[in-house]
């Protein structure tokens, strides 16, 4: 009971405060929350969700998954080869330091403004945190475990699958979490640049046509989306890394 009150208390208070304070608002840019909520139902109908939100989410998923696969594969290769790692590390650091949205104009040159461009933008932005975290995780694999596996003749792909990847997975998960928030940002940015549908495109359209309550409702939807996706990721991570969290909790409680 107390716990529920703590979880819900402040959000309810803030929401109520926003509702009450904005109730009589004459300001053009900050309309009453009642209007925003009313327009939320009107704006984000099933058709709209299908026409604009679904393509965005599909591009996000495609880009994120591709980045995860590429990042982990390259990361394992680089992490296992110390000489390769020393050679490419500064290049990777440089690519990671480039703010991902500035890649949008470059990728537009190569891939036009279609779905391909948006997916490539997301892949290009997300791959660095996954890649660099995988490299770190692979580097930190217990050398005794590696040697043991070698002594038992576990080689090649099996060694990567049974020893290297499980041991690096907490780090990889940390990289994927960073990548997810970058992916959402890039999904929106790439649609703001050039698109004919999508969440980012629609919100900017509302702003340009001064449909302010609709714009606010779009911002709220984007916020809910970000929150929902991070919740989903946490659940997936909690499931996949249950052994790791259990291990940590056990060693902490000692």
């Amino acid at each position: 009971m107390r716990k529920v009150a703590y979880v819900l208390g402040l959000p309810v208070v803030l929401f109520a405060a926003w509702y009450l304070i904005s109730a009589g608002s004459e300001s053009f840019y900050a309309p009453p929350l009642r209007d925003i909520l009313a327009s939320f139902g009107r704006t984000w109908t099933l058709d709209r969700l299908q026409a604009d939100v679904l393509p965005s989410l599909l591009r996000l998923t495609a880009g994120f998954l591709l980045a995860a696969v590429i990042g982990v594969a390259l990361g394992v290769a680089i992490g296992l080869g110390p000489r390769l790692r020393a050679t490419v590390e500064p290049v990777l650091e440089f690519f990671r330091a480039i703010p991902p949205p500035v890649l949008v104009p470059v990728i537009m040159l190569f891939a036009g403004i279609g779905n391909g461009m948006k997916i490539i933008v997301i892949v290009f932005g997300c791959v660095w945190p996954v890649l660099l975290n995988t490299v770190e995780g692979v580097r930190a694999v217990d050398s005794v475990q590696l040697d043991t596996a070698r002594a038992y003749g576990i080689n090649g792909f099996d060694r990567i699958r049974r020893v290297v990847l499980p041991s690096a997975s907490p780090q990889i998960a940390a990289g994927l979490r960073q990548a997810l928030s970058i992916a959402i940002i890039l999904m929106v940015i790439s649609e703001m640049f050039a698109a004919s549908n999508g969440l980012g495109f629609t919100i900017v359209q509302f702003q340009r046509s001064f449909a302010i309550p609709e714009m606010w409702s779009g911002i709220i939807l984007l916020g809910l989306l970000g929150f929902g996706l991070s919740l989903l990721f946490r659940l997936a991570e909690g499931r996949a890394l249950r052994w790791y969290h259990g291990l940590r909790a056990a060693s902490k409680g000692r």
Binding site: R83, P90, P101, P105
Partner: protein, 251 residues
Amino acid sequence: MRGLLGLAGLLVIVEALPRSGLVDDGYLPPTSRIVAALGDEVVTAEFWQAVADTLTAWVIGLAVAVAAGVVVGVAIGAVPVLRAATSSTIEFLRPIPSVALIPLAVLLYGTDLGSTLLLVVYAAFWQVLVQVLYGVADVDPIADETARSFRFGAWARIRHVLWPTALPYVFTGVRLAASVALVLAVTAELVIGAPGLGKMIAVAQTSGAVPDMYALIAVTGLLGVAINLAARAFERRTLAWHQSVRGEVPA
């Protein structure tokens, strides 16, 4: 040493790909032309003005975010009731992508510094706040109770127990916030058109000055690397007394 080899390799590849015709040089100009474009840019006053604009937005935004994050974080972290009451709200607000605020920033501030700052502060604030909260949670209960039994007041406890414990976390937060702030500063300039490097990239793109575009993008990358290195060096110097740094064997 090998790292230099890698960088040189990248430059050679970028030179060779368009020259061999594998990639259209209208899309990816060879290194030599990008470097030439960079050479033309760095002698202009506009370029340095843009760098200054971007860094101004970065510095102000980061400073505001760090100050707010530390004050709010310590206040929330030091009072258990507040901590319990705010955690759900923080968990909800933190994953909201900062780019969702772009339309709002445009309406409120147009293409001024203000809209860049709004995005930078919003994005960087959470990085600092979350780290400060972790840091405050890490306070050794025995140290805290010792301070209590010596009748340290609330302020003295914050100053002498809580703050030294939280400091390494604060620095991690600042380091993360510094790179996020640069990303958001450039993004805001690129998308909204606030003055700075991002806007120059957008202008280069629309006018088809492809080598200049690549040169400017490389500059943002170099800025990012410089900020990372500076933040790490600063952290190591200021925290020289701390265990996490002391334990590091200089390479």
